[in-house]
């Protein structure tokens, strides 16, 4: 390369670097970065994105601008916001992006959002997404058929039975652990503790759930949809029990998992838009409950799952916070405090004490069914 060319590049490079930090907002309508995860827990959002105008009867819907990437939020026939979709790998990544001010709205697990709030990230939980959609999966050729036979098996086996989970603060792990202790089993996370009956193993991510089961790294796995369904579909495992059905009866119904969240700044500056967003999710939630198969299929297509997983989905999408849900959230708070996870605002607090820090329920309360 000739010297003049070299000089040109060396001078324009810093300029480019400067420009790179600029994020662009639409001139007319405000622009938001919306984070979500490739899990069927976020089906309503994916459904709204795919069905677009066909959901216009809801009064609020999404209009695709660039598929899978840019959408406009349409309310009362007018575009009020522009969304840029960002896929994250987990709730923790979502919380981290919130902390770096790289997300405005998102869907993630309630525990991940709580962790973010505990660290001081200025976000609030707006509405629930779903409950259920968590299952215990054993290898395909296992003789076990349900929870009772599973517990019996655990009691019989001499060495600890290994169950893998994807994240220590995740709902499936917390629920399962609770149920195991209810059943009077000794649970540990220390692989050297051979006197325990169940060993819970951190598989460090949902992607590792199915391979761990298929390579016999663990005896069973517990995880959120769609991973139990993927394991079934790939011929690797079979679902022993949906976590909602764990004893005591009815106890684990409506257990929280995913929620919608927003930054305090966005809530303060654009309350109307946030309100419409919450309305979109709530109404699409209702639609998904009524059209389970189609919702499941759309979600499967979006993520790239085999379509038969759509048929076996057990997700229930909530229109608003229920008492059970709040109780479940309170349980999470207590359990996570017990694990020493919270060191900031949520440390050693009960749900009622921190309700105002965690939630902003104005919007969901306004949504009429």
């Amino acid at each position: 390369m000739s010297k003049p060319k070299q000089k040109f590049l060396l001078t324009t490079l810093p300029l480019l670097l400067l420009l790179m930090t600029v994020t662009v907002c639409g001139a007319d309508i405000p622009h938001f970065k919306v984070g979500y995860i490739f899990t069927t827990h976020h089906t309503p959002f994916m459904v709204a994105a795919q069905k677009g105008e066909t959901l216009s009867f809801q009064g609020v819907y999404l209009k695709p601008i660039v598929a899978r990437d840019r959408y406009e939020l349409i309310a009362d026939g007018k575009p009020i916001a522009s969304f840029q979709l960002i896929v994250t790998k987990s709730g923790s990544e979502t919380a981290a992006l919130f902390a770096r001010n790289q997300l405005d709205l998102a869907m993630a697990s309630v525990t991940a959002i709580m962790s973010g709030i505990d660290k001081g990230t200025p976000i609030k939980i707006l509405s629930p997404l779903q409950t259920e959609g968590m299952a215990l999966v054993a290898p395909k050729d296992s003789p076990l058929t349900d929870w009772e036979s599973f517990v019996a098996q655990v009691k019989k086996t001499e060495r600890p039975v290994k169950i893998g989970y994807h994240s220590p603060t995740s709902a499936p792990k917390i629920v399962l652990e609770g149920a195991l202790k209810e059943a009077g089993l000794k649970v540990t996370e220390d692989p050297n503790n051979l006197s325990a009956q169940v060993l819970l193993a951190d598989l460090k991510g949902t992607a590792n759930l199915t391979p761990a089961l298929s390579s016999k790294q663990v005896d069973a796995i517990v995880g959120p949809s769609p991973f139990p369904e993927v394991a079934v579909s790939r011929g690797v495992g079979k679902i022993i029990v949906e976590l909602r059905d764990l004893p005591p009866a009815d106890y684990w119904h409506d257990y929280p998992c995913c929620v919608t969240a927003a930054t305090d700044t966005v809530v303060a500056q654009y309350p109307a838009i946030v309100g419409k967003f919450v309305e979109l999710i709530a109404k699409t939630n209702a639609w998904c409950n009524e059209n389970r198969l189609e919702a499941g299929t759309l979600a499967a297509e979006w993520i790239g799952l085999p379509l038969d997983t759509a048929k076996t989905s057990t997700l229930v999408f909530l229109p608003q916070f229920t008492e059970r849900w709040m109780k479940g959230a309170g349980d999470y708070l207590a359990i996570l405090n017990g694990m020493g996870n919270f060191t900031g605002q949520l440390k050693d607090k009960k749900l009622q004490e921190v309700d105002a820090i965690l939630f902003d329920k104005r919007f969901i309360d306004q949504v009429k069914k």
Binding site: M1, M20, T23, V24, V87, P211, V230, G304
Partner: protein, 280 residues
């Protein structure tokens, strides 16, 4: 050429790969678990249909093309910066002394370790953000070139190219420079007509290595949030869905493209730089 020679040649090239495929097939049928090791046929079938949509991510061919575009963007940026800088550092001892210590601190840092910082700085900004393009096909193309990914690839390619350029210039025989001087060369002549051509083989070699490293950074780069395309991302997404066959297809594609890029450079090196091999 005699038929026997041709057959021997083909045999030599194909023997080990065929053996490998045989072992794979045996292992796959023994394990009988496509999540751990899919069959050879399954993977080949996918490779033979590169335009088919895979796990809602578009086709293999398109994803490879996207990855290639990203790698080239980061790589060309690295070359544009590293070659001039390396030549200057190799030729001017003072510049070298100023910069080398500082640059050497960053050299051992693997590109993957830059990810958290890069995410914090660039987020999901891309060339589309830079040129303020928000819709249409231009957006689709430009948005795929995310600054965070380009940076990771850039940092991977930068050091091999820089180091080779410095060494190339350093390693120019003094007699060549002396001969030119006694023949009446100006400093400009020395730089353009002696130094650069003499160091060119080393620089091009560094560029070849740099491209290889850039290509290898792909998977780490494409794990950054934001973009949902590229063969590196295809692999991670396929893993999430326990589609090991797609994982392997992705790996094979990466291997094949990487080998072709390397071959491209080797051909150039052999044609244009024959003189390096036989100087004494």
């Amino acid at each position: 050429m005699a038929l026997k020679t041709i057959l021997t040649r083909i045999g030599t090239y194909l023997l080990v790969p065929l053996l490998f495929l045989l072992l794979w097939g045996l292992a796959a049928s023994h394990l009988n678990n496509e999540v751990i090791l899919p069959g050879v046929g399954q993977v080949t079938a996918l490779l033979l249909r590169p335009t088919e949509n895979l796990i809602s991510m578009g086709s293999l061919a398109v994803n490879v093309a996207v990855s290639l575009a990203r790698v080239l963007a980061g790589y060309l940026l690295a070359v544009a910066l590293a070659v001039p800088l390396g030549v200057i550092m190799g030729y001017y001892g003072t510049v070298f002394r100023f910069l080398n210590g500082f640059l050497a601190l960053f050299r051992p840092i693997p590109p993957l370790a830059w990810v958290p910082l890069v995410l914090a700085w660039f987020g999901v900004a891309s060339l589309a953000t830079l040129f303020d393009v928000q819709r249409g096909t231009a957006y689709l193309y430009l948005n795929n070139l995310k600054f965070s990914m380009i940076f990771i690839i850039f940092i991977g390619a930068f050091y091999p190219v820089l180091t080779s350029a410095i060494h190339g210039v350093n390693g120019v025989r003094r007699t060549l420079l002396d001969s030119a001087r006694v023949l009446g060369a100006s400093e400009g002549d020395i730089f353009r007509k002696i130094l650069l051509p003499a160091s060119f083989p080393a620089i091009v070699n560094g560029m070849r290595i740099g491209l290889g490293v850039a290509w290898m950074c792909l998977v780490s780069a494409e794990m950054l949030p934001g973009s949902l395309s590229g063969v590196g991302y295809l692999i991670t997404h396929a893993y999430t869905l326990a589609r090991t066959d797609i994982v392997i297809v992705g790996m094979v594609s990466i291997g094949v493209v990487g080998a072709l890029l390397d071959l491209f450079f080797r051909v150039i090196e052999e044609r244009k730089f024959a003189w390096t091999r036989l100087t004494r």
